[in-house]
């Protein structure tokens, strides 16, 4: 594998891994606190990307404003999902399978609302209008302004999340829900309010991830769904209960899709078209060999259930 290709693939790993981490953290949070593997998460990502796109099309190119818009739309999408569907189903004490199916349904509804909007306003395959520029170059090491935005944003948001979880009353309440919702209710934690805040946080993170993903690729109603398997692979690698594990999982998935895939292509002729199979292989391998993922390997600060 040529050194230049290795360097580029590692840069891609960090950049895409950071994006996967932002998306996967919400899945881990939803699963830990709400006990729901939420497949509608992909659509919160897409909704955030469209919010970012629309803001950029209106002429506003400030990345912070764009990400704020994406956060708000993603958060509202998630909260509406909770209030309109998931909360009502929880009240009926339906099974986990019903909740998973309903998350697919919610996702489909949001997706096709976005399709209708995109069709009406012709918003397919557009890019969020922040120009891509090179901010650092040394030989084959090239870093873009997207890298400069994605990686620090991911790090800052992860640090803020960890602080929220460990140093605020809301974080403690979230962890209480993650451990035992009934006990949390008995000791007086306002469960529904905490859940609503959690959904806002989950959707907001997904929305920001969507805005950044929309800078990496083209905005389309299926863009979130296109990434969701890789994101779930990252969350499953992280054991679905640990922030630090999820982040590590995201980078492992991105490393596999980029550096490992290019290594296999360069040395063994494995076609790059097999790249989408990698997250499936990771998911199956984790479930067969180590269902708890990275949990217990990396513990403490980022763990929700402790």
């Amino acid at each position: 594998m040529p050194p230049a290709l290795l360097t580029t693939s590692l840069v891609n790993t960090i950049q895409i891994g950071s994006l996967y981490a932002l998306m996967a953290l919400g899945i881990t949070l939803t699963f830990s606190v709400m006990k729901l593997p939420n497949f509608a998460h992909a659509e919160y990502v897409t909704a955030g990307a469209y919010a970012a796109l629309i803001v950029s099309l209106s002429g506003v190119l400030n990345p912070l404003v764009i990400m704020a818009a994406a956060f708000i739309v993603g958060a509202l999408s998630a909260l509406i999902s909770q209030l309109a569907v998931f909360k009502r189903l929880e009240g009926k004490e339906v099974s986990l399978y019903t909740l998973i199916l309903s998350s697919f349904a919610v996702g489909l509804i949001i997706r096709y609302i976005l399709f209708l909007m995109a069709d009406y306003f012709n918003l397919f395959d557009l890019r969020i209008g922040i120009p891509l520029t090179i901010v650092f170059r040394d030989g084959s090491l090239i870093l873009s302004n997207l890298f400069a935005w994605v990686v620090p944003t991911s790090i800052v948001l992860v640090v803020l999340l960890t602080l929220l979880l460990n140093a605020t009353p809301l974080g403690r309440e979230m962890r209480a829900l993650a451990n035992n919702v009934n006990l949390a209710r008995v000791i007086g934690i306002p469960v529904e309010r905490v859940k609503n805040y959690t959904w806002l946080l989950v959707g907001g993170l997904a929305g920001v991830a969507g805005a950044l993903w929309g800078l990496q690729t083209a905005v389309h109603p299926l863009m979130g769904w296109g990434a969701i398997i890789s994101v779930f692979a990252a969350a499953i690698l992280g054991g679905l209960s640990s922030f630090s594990g999820t982040i590590l999982g995201a980078y492992v998935v991105a490393f596999s899709e980029n550096t490992v895939m290019l290594f296999l292509n360069a040395n063994f002729g494995v076609d790059l078209a097999y790249k989408p199979a990698i997250p499936f292989i990771i998911i199956i391998a984790v479930l067969l060999i180590r269902p708890q993922g990275f949990t217990n390997l990396i513990r403490r600060a980022g763990d929700l259930q402790r």
Binding site: R127, G129, Q216, T217, L262, L272, P276
Partner: protein, 394 residues
Amino acid sequence: MLCLIVCLTVMLGAAASAQDDMETYVLGVALPFTGSFGTFGQDFERGIDLAVAQMNAELEAAGSSIRFETASADTEQTPEGAARALQSIVQTTGAQVVVGPLTTSEVLGAKQFADENGVVIVAMASSGAAASIPGDNIFRVIYPPDTFSSKAFATIALERGHQNMVVLYVDDPFGNGMNEHFTKNYQARGGGEVASFGYAPQSTELSAEAAAVSAALAGFGDGAGFFCVCFPGAAEAFVQVAQIDPILTSVQWLGNEAMTSDEMLEDPGHAQTLANADFVTVSQSADVTPLTPLFNADFVAMFDKEPGIFTNYAFDAANIAMLTMLAAGNDGAAVKSMLPFISNHYIGTAVQAFLDENGDQNVARYGIRQVREDGSGFDVIGTYDGNSDSITYK
């Protein structure tokens, strides 16, 4: 009073009898209404609806008892979805002729059911060489197969002095066929090595692919060229990551027409990347016939919006299907037998249809378009006549 009742009875009976005499032919429409090609599918359906509305109006004016109606199903842009769509249309309506699907992989997905059940498929935009099969029930009446355009791309690559080529192609029947035929033609005409990289059709993020293409171009050194065979969406995603790659931005590019979308040039970075790459594409000639402006005006009048790219192909395909059904009846076998004759005598909004032994469009006139230096649009720099395998530059 009795007279009045008798008169009313006779009149109602006559009306009912006239109604009974009416015959309705169902024209199936199998297109991707969802997925990344959903916009194409929806717009194509509008083109077909326009053709059906116009045909019914003419039939009514002529006093004919035949009317057409459509039955649509979503192919979901997958081969399996196309097979399900065809099955659903045929089993619920008895349709013998289906217009669509869109891509070659969908057409091939629907092929087995069509062949086994005597249903005729009239596809408007599929061009993958893999679907060029003699004797089957698939007719691709407007867009010629890629065996022609691959020769044009190979010739242009050689004329530009590319000693070696790197190809990025969508890993489906369309992309595989284009890659295979391009490589064969390029090397047969004196070209050197071709390094090819496939990407999965569902991929939306292509940074690994861009890195691989860049490394292959670097390995070839000076004189190498790049050929991108991508679907919309992936094309934008590829250019997005390629625009900061020093190798990819220093070589000349060729690419299919998905690279020439309006969305591509709306992004200044993408437009500049294509301009720096002297990007050239080959696509079916946008020649107009006297019917083209009429189609555009009628479409706007009916739907209050401009027709999308290739929507007139769907309009033409529907007309060929309906004219054949009027001549041969609502019977798949008869339509299969008659359709080449009708096609070969049809001039629509795009080009003369004339089918080869595979039931594919055999009139292959392409426009060669190059992006302007400022990336503001594309200029036609020449034409390629697939039938004589010759390029004429302006």
